[in-house]
């Protein structure tokens, strides 16, 4: 690995520390009677309301349509994710320190898989949350489910929901992009470094 690649990997790893102190994702909800909006912030280890009582208010509203209450303490991912992220930071720093390409490839692949799995898990959580409705709910709209989008906007009855990465999410995306780019560049360089020798061997033969 070139020194600059090792530095880039180290910086990307350290950048991930930002995710510990900023929300990963944001879901904002606007309704006619909520002009001030309600918001959720999904952190690495918790889910909070944008305003102090937003989570409570959303849970209160959601009981009409039979959605389960969001209880952050009961979501196992929120306990697991900080450990995985810490491991990723340590692994990244080790990759930078050791400077071996195979480790970089391995780390980049694991990081990418982890990120995709995380988004997949978020989708699955949203799907279950939006589809597993209490059959005794007061408001039942045939064919209606209330899965929030992972990215983008969606009308959920009177609420317009918008979901988007928050600061931590953007930082993680930049860090991931950085690591994948470095890995690809290193891979290309390795191939270019190998190719002349192969050509020379062929010529000698």
């Amino acid at each position: 690995m070139k020194p600059i690649s090792r530095w880039a990997v180290a910086v990307a790893s350290l950048l991930l520390l930002v995710v510990f102190v900023t929300p990963l994702w944001r879901i904002d909800l606007i309704a006619p009677q909520y002009p001030e909006g309600l918001g959720l912030r999904i952190w690495i280890n918790q889910i909070t309301g944008l305003k102090p009582n937003d989570l409570n208010s959303l849970n209160g509203l959601n009981h009409y349509i039979g959605m389960r209450a969001i209880v952050p303490e009961s979501i196992p991912e929120l306990r697991l994710m900080p450990q995985l992220l810490a491991a990723a930071v340590v692994a990244g720093l080790l990759v930078a320190l050791i400077g071996r390409r195979p480790l970089l490839y391995l780390w980049a692949v694991l990081f990418t898989v982890g990120a995709v799995a995380g988004l997949g898990d978020f989708y699955k959580w949203g799907y279950e949350y939006g589809h597993q409705l209490d059959p005794t709910a007061a408001i039942k709209v045939p064919g209606m489910s209330y899965q929030p989008p992972v990215i983008g906007s969606k009308q959920l009855l009177n609420f317009h929901a918008t979901s988007w990465p928050d600061v931590g999410g953007w930082v993680a995306i930049v860090a991931l992009g950085c690591v994948v780019t470095v890995a690809l560049l290193e891979w290309r360089r390795a191939r270019q470094a190998v190719s002349p020798r192969v050509r020379a061997a062929a010529a000698a033969a």
């Binding site: 009582n53 209160g60 009409y64």
Partner: protein, 675 residues
């Protein structure tokens, strides 16, 4: 300008006297003055979703409350209950608020509120509190302007007709309370014919705590038995003085409309309250027993009454230099101090001029002992020695004066039904504009302060007649808003008001709108009967008293099925609104209750008493449309005959599991006791 009076006056009087035929021509005259109607409409139009520039607080007069309006639109924003029970909010009906209306006469559920007064810092409204007087059973209330709720009411002993109140000193050191109806003080059984010897007037100075706003009666001045009518405190150079107008220096005690109108001049009492403070500090005040109620809303949302037991009383003889009388024509009503603090304007309601006293001349007259005589030991200054000038031919019936901060004064003219604008340097009339009809007070935002926001003047009229669609014999009171930014006053808007507004105050919305409390924190709720979650709801019987500890949250009560109540029980419904969401109050009412409803703000606990008088099953329900399933927010309570064996039961998680471990000691025996 004054030469216009001959034309204006007959028209105004004709408007006053005339029926519908004449008044239509008055309206036309007015329209001509108003100029371009669409321009006026543009000035007062506040587009949907936009905010008014000013909060205006209009006293409710005989409704005892305060109306909060936006200016320039004239839209009613809130009707705040103060001295009168208000069934809408359960004010004075709920157990937590009933003590607010306690007096030494017991529970007094009504008063006549006249003069709102904003707290001031350096002579400028600071948006912290609003004070208002109760005239009939002398009291002063304080409202908190982060919640627009009444937080404190103090009774004024030795007083009657608390009219010259609560006018504020420039750093909110004191609010004042003067006696309009002199009475024996302390009260005693005496012939009314002994008025001159046995009656006295009282001017009270009520200290305002600079941090909490809490009021305490500091001292009272016992003065001759005149009718102390209105007041304003000095500012700037005259800070340290308060001025009280008075009438009936004749000391009549019957048919005052004649007997109190004989003298050419009555008095403005100039009170050096800093001198009074010194005399009190020197122990010159007599400590007299007096019982009065002081009601304070606690941080837990529960009002409690503390009882005052004495007052410090000063007479003029105790404290020389404390009070002087300035002769003022004639039966003066308003006494208003200009922004510089130099001019003291008397509104002699029967006078043909507006007299303007000079504070600096007054000090000189005192120093020179320019006395014309004395009244029961109080020096009477010479009129010529204090008067700076007289506004001539102002109109008829001058009452009150406000200021725009640009060197102009605006005086309301009751009889000629107009506002007269005059110059504070030349004392010449500059402009006049009719009001509809018979203006009492007038108000410029900050118009009695050191720095008025002199954009509008609001006329608060006593007679309405044909201004709005007719509504039978009783009509809404009428207010008019005028633009005063130009040389000529311009009528912009007419709007009806609640009760009978007397004085008003206004300040820029920006001073308070961002400090508004949106809800009460449930975690901070300290009401001993609060249920902060549904698990802790319960029903407890203690002899004939039953406590129903309930919660409301969209869209149900917990519990909503209650049995085991008996005819004649005292049932207390303690409702806690579990919502922590903006603008989601819940209500509560039960069929046949000889009581009001409750409204509980988010996070708040309120208690309603009910004594069921007959057997049956009675529904209760949420009265505030709270949600899509509001109509479903209901429950039943079963009432059995006295002595029935019906088991006490309810449908919340605590039923049965709590039966064996009632922690009776942890909650008070009375619903919300007073001290």
């Amino acid at each position: 300008m004054s030469r216009r009076i001959p034309l204006q006056l007959p028209l105004a009087l004709a408007c006053l006297a005339g029926g519908t035929v004449l008044t239509s021509s008055c309206s036309r005259a007015n329209a001509a003055r108003a100029g371009d109607v669409s321009e006026a409409a543009r000035q007062v139009y506040v587009a949907p979703g936009q905010y008014d520039e000013f909060y205006a607080f209009l006293s409710g007069g005989f409704d005892g409350q305060i109306g909060v309006y936006g200016l320039p639109s004239g839209r009613l924003l809130k009707h705040v209950p103060v001295f009168s029970q208000s069934a809408e909010q359960g004010w004075g009906y709920s157990e937590q608020t009933k003590p607010m209306l306690t007096t030494s006469y017991g529970f007094v559920p009504w008063d006549d509120s006249h003069h709102p007064e904003l707290s001031q810092t350096n002579g400028v409204p600071d948006g912290r509190w609003l004070f208002i007087n109760g005239n009939n059973t002398p009291r002063i209330a304080r409202l908190d302007l982060t919640r627009f709720e009444t937080e404190e009411i103090i009774e004024i002993p030795n007083s009657a007709g608390n009219h010259s109140s609560p006018f504020m000193t420039e750093n909110s050191e004191y609010v004042v309370a003067g006696t309009r109806f002199s009475v024996p003080a302390p009260q005693k059984d005496v012939s009314i014919d002994d008025y001159k010897s046995a009656f006295s007037g009282t001017l009270s100075f009520i200290k305002v705590d600079s941090a909490t706003g809490h009021m305490a009666i500091a001292f009272q001045l016992r003065l001759p038995a005149f009718d102390y009518d209105l007041s304003h405190s000095g500012k700037g150079p005259s800070h340290g003085w308060s001025f009280f107008s008075s009438y009936n220096s004749e000391q009549g005690n019957t048919k005052l409309e004649v007997n109190a109108s004989q003298r050419d001049k009555d008095y403005i009492a100039a009170v050096n309250w800093q001198q009074a403070e010194r005399c009190v500090a020197q122990g010159k005040a007599a400590v007299e027993p007096a019982r009065y109620a002081h009601n304070v809303m606690g941080g837990d949302g529960i009002a409690r009454t503390e009882w005052g037991s004495s007052v410090k009383v000063l007479t003029a003889a105790d404290c020389p230099g404390m009070v002087y009388y300035m002769p003022t024509p004639k039966s003066p009503h308003g006494v208003d101090v200009d922004p510089s603090g130099e001019y003291i304007v008397g509104g002699g309601k029967l006078a043909t001029v507006i007299p303007v006293h000079s504070f600096s001349k007054m000090l000189k007259a005192i120093a020179d002992k320019s006395f014309a005589g004395e009244e029961q030991g109080i020096p009477v200054l010479k009129y010529e020695a204090t008067v700076a000038g007289e506004v001539e031919n102002p109109g008829l019936g001058p009452l009150h004066t406000e200021f725009d901060g640009q060197g102009h004064a605006y005086t309301s003219m009751f009889l000629s039904s107009e506002i007269v604008k005059w110059d504070l340097k030349t004392f010449k009339v500059l402009d006049r504009v009719p009001t509809y009809y018979s203006i009492g007070h007038l108000m410029i935002p900050g118009g009695d302060s050191r720095k008025p926001w002199g954009k509008y003047v609001l006329a608060l009229n006593k007679i309405t007649k044909d201004r709005y669609l007719p509504t039978g014999p009783e009509l809404a009171q009428s207010a008019q808003l005028y633009d005063i930014t130009g040389d000529r006053m311009k009528l912009l808007l007419d709007f009806p008001t609640i009760g009978e507004p007397h004085y008003a105050q206004a300040l820029p919305a920006s001073l308070i709108k961002d400090r508004q409390v949106k809800m009460y924190g449930l975690a901070a709720n300290q009401d001993p009967w609060a249920a902060k979650n549904e698990k802790s709801t319960r029903v407890e019987r203690r002899g004939k008293v039953v406590h129903v500890v309930m919660t409301s949250v969209r869209s149900h009560f917990m519990p909503d099925k209650i049995e085991g109540i008996q005819v004649g029980d005292s049932v207390y419904f303690h409702l806690t609104n579990l919502e922590q969401d903006w603008d989601v109050p819940h209500g509560f009412a039960v069929l046949g209750n000889n009581n009001s409803e409750l409204l509980m703000m988010p996070g708040q606990t309120r208690t309603l008493a009910w004594v069921p008088s007959r057997v049956g099953v009675f529904p209760f329900y949420c009265t505030d449309f709270c949600s899509a399933l509001h109509q479903e927010m209901q429950g039943y309570i079963r009432v059995s005959p006295k002595g029935a064996k019906t088991e006490l039961k309810w449908n919340s998680p605590s039923y049965r599991e709590h039966e064996d471990d009632h922690d009776v000691a942890a909650v008070p025996a009375q619903p919300h006791g007073t001290h």
